[in-house]
Amino acid sequence: MLKEHEGKVKVLAGGTDLLPSMKQRLFTPEYVLDLRQIPGLGEIEDNFQKGVRIGSLSTLAAIEESPVVKGRFPALAEAAGLVGATQLRNMGTIGGNIALETRCWYFNQSHSWRRSIERCIKLGGKVCHVVKRSKKQCYAYFAADTVPILVALNAEVTIKGNGKGRQCLLKDIYTQEGKNSNTLKPTEVISEVLVPLPDPGSGSSYKKLRIREAIDFPLVGAAVQVVMSGDICRDAKIVLGAVGSGPIEVTEAESVLRGNPITEELIEEVGKISQKAAKPMPNAVSTPEYRRKMAGLLTKQALREAVNRANILE
């Protein structure tokens, strides 16, 4: 059906992003395809050897409360629990969060508001109101809370469409550009996420910055996974959200940690590197300078918590 009406159909899962966008006339599809009619996409399955399979239509509330997810990946359950608010988590799905539209305060506005300024690149126009010199690149920011931690946990995603399927690292579907922020074709849907079993000695954490304690999208998100051997960090993954057009893996900070004992000096250094890796734009509620500093701070907080969790579980 997606192929038949290509260009005129949008898929519906929880509706918590699609419906507001349609009400603001950001999208005006002729058809809306309710994915919840497809059975079997809402399950969370503990596949002991491989990891945990989470169907794309699992609600964020179900993931937040799942004993399987809380037991194996508490940071993922926490991240799901930080999205929006109670009602939004009862409706919203992990697939929808993974494929969440990027945001910008020149884009996420009503039709009448947007009519008063020139149409921007994300809407098919020629200007960017955030980065004036941009001719083609959109700087809308990546707003999903579950993605940074999923990427830090090396999650894989299965995508289906046109009778075919493909599987890849979740990280690889993101383009780091605001208009076409992921590689999903209009005829494709996410069917499931696989979070592989973490190595022994693993600990992870996700920290979210927002103005209010509920409802708001992130201004900064910092996800960390570490694998510890005693007090030596054998491996680390650090992923930032909301401070770029896609999830940002801070590879330089990861290298600095790998093979070294965790000291306060090292944590400070990681914070500084993370702060530099953050690239927020003036298109959300607080200043880019503040968000950069908070990216550093949240990375340090998430790192400390991840290390503590790794040591407790050993």
Partner: protein
């Protein structure tokens, strides 16, 4: 093109003809006449339209009516039994948890959903349950106290 849809609201069946783009909130208010659920923002940011579907608090303004045919929907009108307010509604009145009243139906539904699942929530759990419901009048304290008082009085089994 309109479709005929059967919706079960507060235990009663209603048969309505709706266009596919109508939200549950519009249908409840305009077709069925249950105006207790309110439209505060229409975008999922205020909770004034909160209803309970299959035991969970959800936003009627972001729910397409056609997608909930055959599901049990509870609105604020279903809390009272005839002329008798529910324990929660009485507590809201007694504790001064209502000023203009616009957020109240949504608050009651979020609280009802919480207490059905967790009859003895702590204060953090109460606040989290209503975190998606905005109130411009009361400052929330009396709303939390009202819910707290009901939670404290539910028989501990």
């Amino acid at each position: 093109m309109k479709q005929i849809v059967e919706l079960t609201v507060n235990g009663e069946p209603y048969e309505v003809a709706v266009d596919p783009h109508r939200t549950l909130l519009e249908v409840l208010r305009e077709e069925i006449g249950l105006t207790g659920s309110k439209e505060g923002c229409g975008l999922g940011s205020c909770g004034a339209c909160t209803v309970i579907i299959e035991g969970k608090a959800v936003l009627a303004c972001l729910t397409l009516a056609l997608t909930v045919r055959g599901k049990e929907i509870r609105t604020v009108e279903g809390l009272a039994k005839g002329q008798e307010f529910s324990v929660l509604q009485k507590a809201f009145i007694e504790h001064g948890a209502i000023q203009c009243g616009f957020c109240t139906p949504g608050m009651l539904m979020s609280a009802t959903a919480l207490l059905s699942k967790n009859p003895h929530p702590n204060n953090d759990e109460i606040k989290k349950a209503i975190s998606g419901n905005l109130c411009r009048c009361t400052g929330y304290a009396k709303i939390v106290e009202a819910i707290r008082s009901v939670a404290d009085n539910i028989q501990k089994t």
